[in-house]
Each structure stands twice: as structure tokens, then as C-alpha cells.
Symmetry: C2
Subunit: 592 residues, 2 copies
């Protein structure tokens, strides 16, 4: 390629570099002096404030731990309140991932203890497979280290940052190391480690490691002390754990808060989620640059073999179709590592234009309509529940699946129900009072966002889930909805997205990016539940009208009884029987 000439420019500007002067002076004075100096130097080198050599001396590598220490708000450690939640979340996510990968029904305990004015210790313990003592340092003391980043299968963790970052935050705010205890089996020793991160080098610094007695056969316990703030509410540790229990019906979870109060969420199923299978990337989601790298690094010795082995959903026929359509002299036997950029570009175009079946979906494990329903019923008091699991779909080559659940109730209002005998009656006040997540009738509905079974509590308005809920027309389903806002009513919408790669908007994994394909599936799932809600609400309105009408008639039945008694000269018993009969007839007159 020919060297492009620099833009033509006024030479005086080029020859007029600014010089830095040792003594302070006004800008205008400095300008004059420097112009003089420049003309003296006759357009030579740009000496002055600094130059390329001096600047090069200052350039250096930035370790990823330094980067995230300075930018810790990117990881969810921007306030003491959020730091505590993020720590619990990262630890619990790791416990659940490990238990599921090992096929163990998880039992996790979380304890938060106040140890200083603004200092809390957060301890999370599981019954998972444990971590080899040789790995503990890296897993807890190095950012960007893990097993889930390179794998295309559903897991909570993705980045290999979370728990080490929590430790780093603890260390930054209290100066104290992280304590880890782990045991990989009954016949193995339990190891205890005290470690911190050397942020300049992004490496673990192990202060102490010893073998201890532990009355647990296998599992891991991590304790981090940090500057934090504990508070109940919609974005609290309590709420996170409650939602985690709903999204993970196979989890048994114990929580001890700083006041010493204990809660246990029992599991509602003894079945683990089906094991997710790791898949190869789908050809339609691969960029040209990535394709070139893959061609370069493959061990396959033929192009056809490369396409079949390195991608999912490519068999011999599809491979042949792609290669034929690519042209450029490429054949099924072309040697992958010898394919040049131009040929790779044709191949990439051919892949894009070839019809290839959607990726297989056994790499994702949705919660399922039944378990989601029982989870909602167990943890939320409401009058009406409905759930829907959408079929799997694909964004940028990544399979994903949307699930939606609704819980609708009337806290503080008058809940009505039809009894077995056909009577309409008001509900127990007591039952209504225990409502929790479901908000009041005049408040916006609550949205529970879950990604790969992890509840998301922050950045709600930036999230595709919230956007899809707002974009759904809830007026059609009997709810009020201000323009551009959440609908109003005593309702919780729970939305779960399961994917091999959830596209979060930041490392702190708080909101989901608005890909069109994801928005579309979200809307379809919401509509499916919305229609059923609409039917229920309309029925409720009929019930209410009917109830009013009947109460009115019921009021007069005794008077009719008295009138009949006088006219027909009935006994009191006959009159009561008549009144009862009339009431029965009234209640049976309509069906619901």
C-alpha cells in the first residue's frame, strides 16, 4: 500500500512547537518566548515539555489487579453497601457452580458478622467438591483466572474475577487477608490458607497455610473481612439470598445476619439441574479475525475436518456446501494453516450465507415451568401464579432461553376466592399480611431479574429485562400502566435468562445488554404469562361484581324470609329453612 501523505498544512503551525520554561510565566508570555525558541531551533526536534524518549521512560505495564483496584466500581465495589452484596454474590455463585459441576446437591451457609464500626466479616461455606490446595492461591488470589471463560456452557461465573476481587476489596479497606478452608474428600486433609493479592503483579501472596481438623467431608469455606454496610431492603443480601433460593430450587441455604438472626431456605426439589454440555462455537457467531486465528491454531489437517470439528452443527454436507460456495480454490482437503487472509474472508462470507441449523441447546439448563412455579409459591404469597419457559433461541451464535413467572396478589386489598361449595368469600387477613416481594396495589410492579440462576439487584433501568417489561402492553391484561413506565399493581414478574454467555453491560454483571433477539424472546415470554394474567384479572373483576350483587341480595333474603313467614304463616324453622334454601339457590346460580 502506498504511504499516504500527511495532510497539507500551514508550515508556521508545524514549526511552532511550545517550549516549557522552568520559571512560571503568564501563558501569553510563555507563548512568545516559545515561538522565539522554536524559530531559533529552526523547526528541528520537538524538545520542550517532554519528548518521545522521556515519555517512553514513563510507559509501563498495568497489572489487571491494579486496574480493577482503581476502577473497583466496575466490579460492583463502589459503595460499602454494594460491596457486601457483591461479595456474598460472588462467593455463593462459585459454591453453586462447583456443586453442580461435581453433581452434589448444594447446601450453603452465609454468615455476616460485624467486627468493627464499619467492618464486617462475610463467611460463605459449601458442601462442594473442594479445591486442590495447589489451586487455592490462584483461584482466590489472581484476577482473570478460572475454568469458565473459555467454555461454552451455562455457568454463573464467567470471568474468573469475582471472588478474587472481593478479597482484594477486603484487603484494600481493612488490610486483612482472606481466609480459605477447603477439603476435597473424606480421605483427604482439610487445608487452611491465609492469603492476599499482590496487586502490582496480580499474584497470590500466601501468608500461612496449614492442615486443620474439619468435621466436614468435603467443601470450601471463605472468609473476607471488609469495610461494609449491612441494611435490609430491596437490594440487600437478604433479598439476594431469597431470590437465589427461588431461582435454585435444589439449594438448601442458611443465612445468619449480623444481628444473629437465622433463616433457612429449604430445597423444594432433590433433583439437580440437568448437567449442561459444553458446545463448540456456532459458525454464524464467529468473526473473520477469530476464524483466521482458529485456522492458524487448529490441529485438523483438512479444511473440511476443521469445519466439522471446531464448530457445532457442521456435518460433511454443510462443510462441503460452505467450501464450494467460498470458491477461491478452496477444497475440502485444503490445509487449514495455509489458508491466507483473502481466502479466509471468502470462507467467512460463505459461512454467513450458508444455512446452518441452530445450535443445540443441551448447553443450557432452564429452571423449568414447574420448579419455577413451586419456587414462587413457596417464597411469595400471592393469589395467582403463572410461569412460562420459552423454547431456546440464539443471539450472535450463543444459545439462550427465556423463562417468565408472574405472582399476582392483593396485599391490603380485599382478596376474594370461590370456595369448594361455590361461595365467594374474602380471604384471610393474616395471609395477605405476609406478602413480601409483591408490592402494594398502587405501586409499580416488582421485577425479579435472574441470569443463569443468579438474581440481579442493581442497574435495573439499564437492563434488557426491565426494558422488555416496560415495552409490554399490560393495559391489555387488565393492569394500569403509565406511558414509558412499569405497570402498576400488586405483582412480581420474575424473568430468567439462561445462556452459555450472558451479555452483561459491565464486569459487575448487573444488567443485560439489549440484543434484539433477547428482547424479542423476553416480550414473547411476558406476553404468554400476561395473557393468562388477563384472564385471571377479568375473572376477578366478574367475581367482584358478582360478590357485590350477591351481598346486596343476601342482605334482603332474611327480610324476604320474614315476609314469607307472615304471608304463609310459617314456623320459625320453616322460615330459616327457606332462607337457607334461597341462599343456596343464589350461590349455585352461577358457575366460575
Amino acid at each position: 500500500m502506498a504511504r499516504t501523505k500527511p495532510q497539507s498544512s500551514t508550515p508556521s503551525l508545524f514549526d511552532e512547537p511550545e517550549f516549557d520554561e522552568p520559571e512560571p510565566m503568564s501563558p501569553s508570555k510563555r507563548k512568545k518566548k516559545s515561538a522565539r525558541a522554536a524559530s531559533k531551533a529552526n523547526g528541528g526536534q520537538p524538545g520542550q515539555r517532554s519528548d518521545a524518549t522521556k515519555m517512553a521512560a514513563k510507559q509501563r505495564e498495568i497489572s489487571v489487579s491494579e486496574f480493577f483496584t482503581k476502577n473497583r466500581h466496575l466490579l460492583g465495589f463502589d459503595s460499602p453497601l454494594k460491596a457486601l452484596l457483591t461479595t456474598v454474590k460472588e462467593a455463593v455463585d462459585n459454591c453453586l457452580d462447583a456443586c453442580e459441576e461435581a453433581g452434589i446437591l448444594p447446601e450453603i451457609s452465609v454468615e455476616i458478622t460485624q467486627t468493627g464500626e464499619k467492618v464486617f466479616r462475610c463467611a460463605v461455606e459449601d458442601n462442594g467438591p473442594g479445591i486442590l490446595d495447589t489451586q487455592i492461591g490462584k483461584v482466590f488470589g489472581k484476577l482473570l483466572y478460572g475454568s469458565k471463560f473459555h467454555k461454552l456452557s451455562q455457568s454463573r461465573g464467567q470471568q474468573g474475577i469475582g471472588i478474587s476481587a472481593a478479597g482484594m476489596y477486603g484487603q484494600l479497606t481493612t488490610g486483612k487477608p482472606v481466609r480459605i478452608c477447603s477439603r476435597t474428600g473424606k480421605r483427604k486433609d482439610a487445608h487452611e490458607f491465609l492469603l492476599s493479592i499482590d496487586t502490582t503483579r496480580n499474584k497470590p501472596e500466601i501468608h500461612e497455610s496449614k492442615i486443620i481438623d474439619w468435621d466436614k467431608d468435603h467443601g470450601t469455606r471463605v472468609e473476607i473481612e471488609m469495610e461494609a454496610k449491612y441494611q435490609k431492603g430491596m437490594r440487600s443480601v437478604d433479598m439476594y439470598l431469597k431470590q437465589t433460593a427461588i431461582a435454585n430450587p435444589h439449594l438448601c441455604l442458611h443465612f445468619t445476619d449480623p444481628a444473629g438472626e437465622k433463616v433457612t431456605y429449604e430445597r423444594s426439589t432433590n433433583d439437580l439441574p440437568p448437567e449442561t454440555i459444553e458446545i463448540q462455537p456456532h459458525p454464524h457467531g464467529v468473526e473473520l479475525g477469530r476464524l483466521i486465528t482458529m485456522l492458524k491454531e487448529t490441529s485438523c489437517r483438512s479444511l473440511s475436518g476443521f469445519l466439522r470439528e471446531e464448530f457445532s452443527r457442521v456435518g460433511p454436507t454443510v462443510a462441503k456446501r460452505i467450501i464450494d460456495s467460498a470458491g477461491k480454490g478452496l477444497t475440502p482437503k485444503s490445509y487449514p494453516t495455509r489458508i491466507a487472509r483473502e481466502e479466509a474472508a471468502s470462507l467467512h462470507k460463505a459461512i454467513d450465507e450458508t444455512k446452518i441449523s441452530s445450535p443445540s441447546t443441551d448447553c443450557i439448563a432452564p429452571i423449568g415451568e414447574d420448579l419455577m412455579l413451586s419456587g414462587l409459591k413457596k417464597e411469595l404469597e400471592a393469589d395467582f401464579y403463572v410461569t412460562a419457559t420459552r423454547p431456546a433461541a440464539v443471539y450472535r451464535g450463543n444459545p439462550f432461553q427465556i423463562e417468565v413467572g408472574l405472582a399476582y396478589g392483593k396485599p391490603g386489598g380485599v382478596g376474594l376466592e370461590v370456595t369448594e361449595t361455590g361461595r365467594i368469600r374474602k380471604k384471610d387477613k393474616a395471609r395477605i399480611a405476609t406478602l413480601d416481594l409483591v408490592g402494594a396495589a398502587d405501586e409499580p410492579i416488582r421485577v425479579m431479574r435472574i441470569a443463569n440462576r443468579v438474581p440481579l439487584l442493581y442497574q435495573s433501568s439499564a437492563c434488557a429485562i426491565t426494558k422488555a417489561v416496560i415495552a409490554t402492553n399490560w393495559r391489555g391484561y387488565g393492569l394500569q400502566q403509565p406511558r414509558g413506565g412499569l405497570p402498576v399493581g400488586p405483582m412480581v414478574v420474575m424473568v430468567h435468562i439462561a445462556s452459555v454467555w450472558v451479555p452483561f453491560t459491565s464486569e459487575s454483571k448487573e444488567a443485560i445488554a439489549s440484543y434484539d433477539e433477547i428482547l424479542k424472546e423476553l416480550k414473547l415470554g411476558l406476553q404468554e404469562c400476561g395473557r393468562k394474567l388477563g384472564t385471571y384479572i377479568r375473572k376477578g373483576k366478574r367475581l367482584r361484581r358478582e360478590f357485590d350483587k350477591r351481598s346486596y341480595i343476601e342482605k334482603y333474603i332474611p327480610h324476604i324470609g320474614i315476609a314469607l313467614q307472615e304471608i304463609l304463616e310459617l314456623s320459625d324453622k320453616d322460615r330459616n329453612e327457606t332462607v337457607e334454601t334461597l341462599e343456596d339457590v343464589l350461590h349455585k346460580s352461577r358457575n366460575f
Copy 2:
């Protein structure tokens, strides 16, 4: 510390790990079989789907380039449209930083050329100090490498990610390397490099490097080819460059768009911004963990020396006051590296409680009220301009300074002005038509957000600047404003934040985090300009009333003239003179 015992738990749950079976079976069947297997294994090791050893084998380091390739939306490369803008922005930021650091008046050219259906080449060239050939690889081919991260002074770049990430995106989408040409002085050779990033290792891969002829004495040119989309509009490259010119009045900028159209923004001052001085951290912004690390790594041999040398604003008196209040046996002569955690904690507490003067502010360089005003006037057509530079303030130990500018006009409406002779007249239509950034009278106002002289075009609603504009009561200044929204009117608000460390909400540096201290300063700056706007708008309203009244009188003056002529039998000349005198009297009757 005593080993905390694991939570008591039902043994049956602990002894019931799930086993993975080779053949597929229903979940319930699997459950039963696994329960059997577990009871056989008698609560032994968690064999099953996987275990600690198998899991350890899969764990590995993730390179920061792999991480950002997969998460490229975090860096602003989420769409072809945004990718182009981000690339131009990162390149121009680097040019400006380098020129200012070297004391050179910057002249930058940006060319965007379409080279394929969806492929564009972006070339950015400056007259800066150039880059040493030994450094070029790392500067353009390694993420997290740079000179600005560890330094506390105002610069556009902070992270050492931007330009390498742009190259990585180009490489990912087109497979082509980045071309760089650089020369550090007239007597030095110009070097040309073709390089890409080895993402697995986060290292530059140099394909070609040679010495070339270049008719430029010093400077750098970078060319990146990438999948992109070019489009005009509020969030376009054009808009970014226009705003860059406003925020950098010392910059001469040439732009050639893909259609070959050229624009040049001439500089409006020949003075470079004052050189910013690197400062030491302020004691009040240092966390305990950081203090412990600093104590460990210092070369100072006494605590008093450490406090004075490693921090800004600490003299002997303040150092003594801190050490006295820390107690714990600490003396000014204590050896820093021997201070234990507990003592460091007391020291940290003592620092927090000691009054220390605010950090010096020569580390930041605001644009200044006058230059901002001339910048606005040069690039925006409006009726009224006002600017305000707030005094420097501090958040988390970091100095920052807020500047606000307003341009208010009436595009499409009837602009009125008072002429030198005191007449009120309508403005030129032509002048009104050229209005650009200033929106229509019935639209929300436009907000120009600038951070360290870099315009921010995305994520407006997440930004502290937008929040502060919305939170300001513009009704008090004569504008309409819907509740919770931007005010409505033909107005642009420009807000500049200059700081040694701008707290962005993501690596793509698109929005500023809402620190209380920053919000407060923003509001004060907005109010300062708002009050002046209010005066102008009220005057405008008076003007409008006056204009209507006068037009009405003016209409009748000729009739009065005719009547007078008839009554007093005046000549036509006398009549005309009378009419003129009457009009003069009318126009001079009030002062503005």
C-alpha cells in the same frame, strides 16, 4: 483466630451427592440411581460429574486481551457504528495527550475511507512528538500498557487500553493488522510498522517494520481497518470532532469523511493549556490497604518523612499532628516498613480525623471561561452565551473542577435584537438557519458532556452531568421543564469536568459516576449560568412585549402624519419629517 465450625446440617443431605450416569435417563430415575450409588459409597468422596482434580485441570489464566475481545462492548465496540466513533476517539485522545505533554500545538487529521461493503479504514495523524520505534509494539499491541495510569495528573487517556483495543477490534472483524508510522524528530528516521495483537498472550505481533520517507518532521499516524458503519447525527464522528474542537480551542483539526468532504476546525488560540503537574495522593483519599502497601514499599526511613514525601499537603506540623493522634507507640521516627497492621489502622484513623488542606489544583487544567465562550461562539450559532468555571473541589482525594457553558438561541423562531440606534429588529433568517447543535424551541435542550476535554456521546442518561441538568430547576430561569426531564428550549448546555481521575462508569468512558461532591459542583455551575440565562430570557420577554407595542404604534404613525398634514396644512416634506421624528421619539423612549 479460632476455626469456625461449619453450620450444623442434616447429615442425609450431606451424604447424598448426585452421580452422573453415562446413559440418558429421566431426572427422577437419575435421582433414585444416584441416591443408591451414594449410599453404596457410604458418604465417601464426591466422585460423580466432576471433582476437584478434574476441575483444577480446566482452570487457567485468562489474558486481558481475550477478556476484552469477548467483552468488547465494555470498551465501546458493541456496534459497527459505535466502533468507528470509539476508534477515532481513542486515536485523537492519544494525539492530543502526546502533543500537550510535549508542548506542541496540535494539528490532527482524521480520514475515514470506505474500503469494502461494511469495511472502513480510519486514519488519524498528528504532529506530536512521535513514539520510539522500540515502544510502538507495546503501545499499539498490548492492553493495559501506558504512562497515564499511575500518574495523578489530568490526561484524556487513563487506562492504556483504548488504541490497542481499537486495533484488536479491527483485527477481529477484518483480520488485518494495524499500520503505524511514527517519527520522533527531523534528524530521526520515520518508522512504519504493521502489527496485530496476540490475544492469547496480550503481546504485539509485528508483521513488518521498515524505515520510510515521510515529509513530516515529527508525528504519528495510525491506520485501522474495521467493520464499521458511518452515519451523521448527534452521536457521529462528525459531532465528536466538532465538540472536540470546542473543548480544545488550541487544536487545529482536519476531517475527511467517506464521501471525501473535508472540514477544518481552525484553532481559536495559540496558547496550549497550562502544563499540568503530577501530584502525590491526598491523605484523605487513601484506603487502609493502600496505606499498608505504601508503608511496606516506601524508601523513606521515618514515618514523618513518609507522610511528608508520599502524600500531598502534609508538612512537618500536620505529620506530627497525625502521628500524635494515632498513638499506639508511633513516633515521627518510627520505621515505616516495620509498622504492623493494627498500628497502620490507627494511623489511618488519625489521618481521617486530622484537618488537612485540600489538594493543590495545578494538576488540572480547565478550559477557562473566556476560551469556552469563544469556542461556543465560533462553533454554535445562538443569541446568548454564558460560561462559568467553578473553583476546584475534591472527591475521594482527587481534585476536580467543573465548567459550564450555555448557548441559547431561537432557531425557526423570531430572534429579536436591539440595534445600535436603539431599534428592535428581527434577525436575519440566514443566520438562524445555520443553527446546528442548538435544537428547536419545542425540543429538550441538548447537553454536551466533556470530560478532561473529551466529548462524551453515549450513555447520557447514566451520567452525573445529565442527572445534574435534570435536577436543576430551569423553570426559575424562564424555561419550561417537565418533571424529571430535561428542560425544553433552543439551548445547548456544555459541561466540562477536569480531574486527575475522572470516575467513569465503564471502561468505554461514556458516563461519569454520580459522586455527591461532583453532583454538588455541577449544580452550582449550572445555577450560576442559569441565573444569567434567566435575566436574558426575562429581558427577551420584555423586548417581545415592547416590540409588539411599538409595531402597533408604528402602524398608526403614518396615519397620524396624514391627519396632522390635513389639520396643520403641512407640506409632504414636513409631514415626512414629522413622521420620522415621531418614530425616533418612540424608539428612544425606552432604554434596554
